[in-house]
């Protein structure tokens, strides 16, 4: 397959696909229930770009995202789904748009479609991120105290090592009893975890995970099915 190369070395290389596939991806973006609430047209004023943190550090423009989708430029939308959408900070500063657009929200939808379709660039963007997805989906909290390891966060200063070295004692030295945990942010009870698994199961999120990381899907499925069965539920 042909490879596209951007002049910027930071840009991700991606595989070309037939136009019909690009059109299908665009239609998936457009058919999301939120799409019409997020895009009303574009004055080309550039206020969103001026407010955008990612535009200051990457070859990235929320204005181009809104324009490409408004013009239904299928080729450019496909290019943006591969090259641009993972640069977005999702801060939603672009909601300053005087036209009422939500470029950050449009990017959320484009990312979701990229994941749903297992685009290679989406998998690459999430490399190194699987353990976070595992943590949030399996425990119901996103970051845990035991993630604070000096080798993972060398740029956060020597305090990270102190936290890591004293983790158990320092967690026990927290007055709220829900926070005496080291592997989750707070203590989540068993029934609540099972309810969360049912939500993932009933909304197709597990299928989505399979598209982006088969190994993660397998591990999560094992964990979830066992606890769901113990609680008297079937996973599907």
């Amino acid at each position: 397959m042909a490879k596209y190369f951007d002049s910027s070395p930071s840009k991700i290389k991606y595989d070309d696909v037939p136009y019909e596939k690009k059109e299908e991806l665009f239609q998936q973006v457009k058919s999301d229930i939120r799409f019409d609430d997020y895009l009303y047209g574009c004055y080309e004023c550039g206020i969103c770009v001026a407010a955008c943190p990612s535009a200051r550090f990457y070859d990235f423009s929320p204005r181009r995202i809104a324009q490409a989708l408004a013009r239904e430029d299928v080729e450019l939308v496909f290019q943006q789904m591969n090259e641009d959408v993972w640069d977005c900070s999702q801060c939603f500063s672009c909601l300053r748009c005087p036209r009422g657009n939500n470029p950050g929200g449009l990017i959320t939808i484009m990312r979701e479609v990229s994941i749903n379709n297992g685009l290679r660039t989406a998998k690459e963007a999430l490399e190194g991120y699987s353990r976070i997805i595992y943590k949030i989906m399996s425990t119901g909290t996103q970051v845990s105290p035991d993630m604070l390891q000096p080798e993972a966060f060398p740029d956060w200063g020597p305090e990270v090592k102190q936290v890591s070295d004293n983790l158990d004692l320092w967690r026990r030295a927290l007055p709220p009893e829900t926070m005496h945990t080291t592997t989750t942010s707070w203590e989540v009870d068993e029934k609540t975890i099972v309810e969360l698994y049912l939500i993932w199961s009933m909304t197709g999120v597990m299928d989505l995970i399979r598209n982006v990381d088969k190994n993660l899907h397998m591990i999560l499925t094992d964990v979830m099915e066992e606890r769901l069965e113990e609680a008297g539920y079937e996973a599907n």
Binding site: S54, Y58, Y129, I132, G157, R172, T178, K191, T203
Partner: protein, 423 residues
Amino acid sequence: MATIPADGVRSTLAKKKGGFFRRPEDAPVDLREETLRLEAEGEWIVQRVAEPYVELPTKYGGKKKVPLEHTWHHKSCGQCGHIPGYSTSIFWLHRALELDYSDPKDQTSCTAWNYYASATSNAAAQAGVAMRNFAAAYESGYYPVIHCGTSFGHYKEVREEMVHHKELRDQVRAIMKRLGKPLVMPEEIVHYSEWVYAVRGLIAERRVYDVSNISVTVHPACHYYKLVDEDAIYDPEIYGGQRTAIVSGVAQALGAQVKDYSTWFDCCGFGFRHILVQRDFTRSFATLRKMEVMRDEANPDVTLTHDTGCVTTLDKSQFAAQGHDHKVSIPVMSEAQFAALAMGAHPYKVCQLHWHSTDYRPLLTKMGIDWEKAWAEFEEEIESLRRGEKEYLTWDDVDAAVPARSVALAKRGYTPSRFDGQS
């Protein structure tokens, strides 16, 4: 002493052609009205904000009810996980002000940090998670108050989507039915910083340290006031109503000097995905666009903010920047931690400042807090835990530091219409 020139802002705006004042008629659809309409149509139950509550002004001149107690605390992943003094301080403030709260275990993360980072979810799953938490709060009889700015912003997005899309409501209703829970939407979606703002007068009254010599910069959290913006607190008395009043109003009530800087609208650089797997962007943005600008334009003693990611990013990013010869060292904490410190909370047992990276000790010294003595006290507790004399530090160990003076609301002549947080 007011340190934010609200009058100056107002007079400048009045001279501008056409003015820049927001009008109630320009406000978007009132989601609270729509929420109540859908309840009348039998779509869901609305959990009402019960008294005692305070009505605070919103961006387009509306009013938002903020409950003062009997609140169900929707905790934050990053706060509890990596900056636990943040959550502990919020709870400590409730205890110190004698306002009842619940710290539940039947709460999950909103999962929005992961959603904004990886998109490995969808609108129905996100709404399902939100509505499961809301149902849990409703069943407890306590009202949900949300600690994380991203959870708050995302839940407002969920409410908007649920109001506008019947097919989404039907899908989530089916999920709730399988969970054996009711479909419940709160009358108001409330962020903890709105509660802090509502009780700022009570906090100021119980201040035990003079902070009038402390200069503060404020970073307003993007997901608090940019997502579904009409729901954020804007007070004409602070910044002339041109920026959200949250955090600034608390620092001002405490008597600190709130200083301005030009990049206040910029995000912190958190980036959701970037903070975990692409931190070169996060570090650069936080240092170059926020902390160095604050240093050069305001030279604050501390930066206050009101969200998980902002405290993490702005605090943790400074260490690596110093290695690249960017000489910036400004302590960063939540306004809840700052307020608790000013009220006499223990800097380590309550505010847990040893989990922070940037040196906070000069700030404590300037506030008049003996941090060396406080650290020795904390280490004593740690030794006690190590020796097995006790299993945990408990609220009993830290509540004793609170002056035993009742601030029960009834004694303060509380009524919803006239209690403005100022005693």
